[in-house]
């Protein structure tokens, strides 16, 4: 059984009397120890998808429909009280800005011990020892001293290491990381990503990595979801998606990267911009920006079709596959 299973997830934000749909029928699952990447541009709904797993969507947002099953528990039917036992304990989160997630007026030790004692019946001494072990795990120099320091005394990279240590405190089954290295420099990003991958492997923790950086996804994850305007438009093994993208949006996203172009040549740009949530075009949401769009794309929402290991929601790919199949039977 999959560790996490999300079916037909529908999230809305109410604004001025009417509800805006942020997520439309999201389906995906995650195995134990698997590393999954969610990519997309801002406004695609990738953070909302991650936050809704732990029901961390604040008013006016709400989960309007769907099932979220984690290790046999139906998370979306749980009370706030029950959810708090899962949050931080079984599922941990890492956010983008480590300065915003750490409490500036408490020492790091106090924050780590507080988290442990909230979930386990242990003494402060035991909790301190666990905190120390985790700091060692994330390779922080002189961990003993860090416990008595405040967040502002550390650099950005060091703070993100602390955050990872806190996420690992209660040996979770799943870590949800929302743009964990976006605020960091490249050399620090490489270190943090290497550390996170290594820890997920050795501790058998599943990782859900939300990022806009296709390079990072390609380095870290085994499976990738590509999101656009509140829907998943392509999903499959990361290598297949990077090397042979099927959906025109995924192709455009990869082609637009400077590292895909010949140095000095023009980049391949996708015309236009992501639509806003209250103004999503009918049919396939990508159709106004798509060079292959037909009349059908403006009418019908495409369903997933499988090609190789990937699933794509695109009328063009579907038509092409149908043609190939017809050709094969002849």
């Amino acid at each position: 059984m999959a560790l996490l299973d999300v079916r037909q997830l529908d999230v809305r934000f109410s604004s001025r009397g009417k509800a805006v749909q942020a997520l439309r029928g999201i389906d995906f699952s995650l195995e134990r120890g698997e590393r999954l990447g969610i990519v997309g541009e801002s406004g695609a709904g990738k953070s909302v998808a991650a936050f809704s797993i732990l029901n961390l969507i604040a008013h006016p947002g709400f989960i309007a429909g769907g099932e979220i099953t984690f290790d046999g528990h139906h998370l979306n039917r749980m009370s706030e009280r029950q959810l708090r036992k899962i949050r931080g304990d079984r599922i941990a989160m890492i956010f983008q800005d480590p300065m915003m997630t750490l409490n500036p007026v408490l020492t790091l030790g106090a924050q780590m011990i507080e988290c442990l004692k909230a979930h386990r019946r242990i003494s402060t001494r035991e909790a301190r020892q666990i905190a120390l072990d985790k700091l060692n795990l994330v390779q922080i120099p002189s961990p003993e001293r860090r416990l008595d320091q405040y967040p502002h005394e550390l650099s950005g990279g060091m703070r993100q290491r602390i955050i990872i240590a806190i996420a690992l405190l209660l040996d979770p089954d799943l870590i949800i990381a929302d743009e964990p290295t976006t605020a960091l420099d490249v050399t620090i990003q490489a270190e943090i990503m290497a550390l996170l991958t290594e820890l997920c492997d050795t501790q058998n923790v599943a990782l859900m990595l939300i990022t806009h950086d296709l390079g990072v996804v390609s380095q870290v994850t085994r499976r990738t979801l590509v999101m656009y305007a509140g829907r998943i438009i392509e999903q499959g093994p990361t290598r297949e998606i990077i090397n042979d993208p099927q959906h025109p949006y995924t192709q455009g996203l990869l082609d637009a990267l400077p590292q895909m172009a010949t140095p000095g040549e023009r980049l391949n740009q996708i015309p236009g911009a992501m639509p806003s949530l209250n103004n999503i075009p009918p049919g396939c949401a990508f159709n106004p920006r798509c060079t292959f769009a037909t009349e059908r794309c403006t009418r019908e929402v495409p369903h997933f079709v499988s090609t190789g290991g990937t699933q794509v929601a695109c009328h063009m790919v579907e038509a092409m596959l149908a043609k190939e199949k017809a050709h094969d039977t002849v």
């Binding site: 541009e41 420099d185 050399t187 270190e191 806009h212 390079g215 637009a256 590292q259 140095p263 740009q269």
Partner: protein, 354 residues
């Protein structure tokens, strides 16, 4: 085109000797310190029974020499805190250097008064990182774009100014019909196009772009980079492009300057830098780019953190994180030396240990 009505540079500005006409901008021995200590009362400290006055500085730039040739796109890369934005701002005269000289087209501009600097301000413009912060929310796009034109060409009549505004708007792909709208009505990519239009409105020769695409989405980054390249070809612009994104550098630059803690560690043409990075820091930086392709070498893992520019390390600024550092690196500051068409400041390379 606007007729050139700007008064020619006056004698206040001294022409620098030995000016190479192919060089548009040259920076010599640039240093910038920012005082951290506050007012004199805050500088007083009581220690060991005595009252002492202590001053602390952030050493943002520590002796940078750089030439920008006409028509090139020189990219300055480095991690946060390496002083790359400070270089951009000192060049533009937004902050004054603590030491050193800045020459633009043969004329020293760093000690000019604000008034004397005006004719040069028209020839150099800046694009900022965050288009949400750099456009005035209370002005319409027309007013944002008119302002620099009328300011630098006070004798133009309204019709000419309007024509010019429409011309720059269409050149960056913004419909001139939208001129009556406010900045908040546009998306991030469109706003950055408007900031580019504002920079182009006075027909500059030289544009300093400080992380112009870092706040934008991938598909929009490509649009803006293409626009900047088109403008360069159409108008013969020279760019000083500040960024931390090496993939963008590889695409956009003709020459690359790598900075670390306020010093230049490597300066090389793009192809040389990316095929044979010589400085250990450049090597680590290049290997850290998250590549799409599989089967690439694992990144060189640097140990430690970037030291603070308040207490600069002695010798080579990189020695604390460098795998090749020796006793000499901890004492002597390496100078830029020429290797092929690259200039690198590294003792290990000079001694042939690399």
């Amino acid at each position: 085109m606007i007729p050139s009505e700007i008064t020619q540079p006056t004698d206040q500005a001294t022409t620098s000797p030995r000016h190479d006409p192919s060089t548009l901008l040259s920076i010599r021995g640039l240093r910038k310190r920012f005082n951290l200590s506050g007012n004199w009362l805050e500088q007083l400290h009581f220690s060991k029974g005595r009252l002492t006055r202590r001053q602390e500085y952030v050493h943002a730039i520590n002796g940078v020499d750089l030439d920008v040739a006409r028509g090139e796109a020189l990219c300055v890369v480095g991690e946060s805190g390496c002083g790359k934005s400070t270089v951009a701002r000192t060049v533009m005269g937004l902050i004054s250097p603590s030491e050193g000289e800045i020459h633009f087209d043969g004329t020293r501009i760093d000690q000019l008064s604000a008034h004397a600097l005006l004719p040069w301000r028209r020839r150099m413009q800046m694009i900022f990182q965050n288009p949400y912060a750099s456009l005035n929310p209370r002005m319409t796009i027309n007013r944002i774009l008119e302002e620099p034109i009328t300011f630098h060409n006070p004798s133009l009549n309204r019709g000419d100014v309007q024509d010019k505004v429409q011309e720059v708007m269409s050149s960056v792909g913004i419909d001139p019909e939208w001129g009556g709208r406010f900045a908040h009505e546009f998306s991030g990519g469109q706003r950055q196009r408007i900031s580019i239009a504002r920079a182009l409105a006075v027909d500059p020769e030289f544009i300093v772009a400080d992380e112009p695409i870092s706040a934008l989405d991938v598909s929009i980054q490509a649009q803006v980079l293409n626009l900047m390249r088109d403008a360069q070809q159409a108008r013969g612009l020279t760019y000083l492009f500040i960024t931390h994104d090496l993939a963008v550098v590889e695409h956009f630059a003709t020459r690359v300057a790598v900075m670390y803690l306020g010093t230049l560690c490597e300066l090389a043409p793009r192809d040389t830098l990316f095929s044979t990075p010589r400085h250990p820091y450049t090597q680590a930086l290049l290997s850290a780019i998250p590549r799409l392709s599989d089967g690439h070498p694992t990144p060189i893992r640097l140990t430690g953190e970037v030291p603070t520019p308040v207490n600069l390390p002695s010798g080579c600024v990189f020695h604390g994180r460098c795998p090749y550092a020796t006793a000499r690196c901890r004492e002597d500051i390496p100078a830029l030396k020429t290797y092929g068409d690259a200039r690198v400041a590294c003792h290990a390379l000079e001694e042939g240990r690399l």
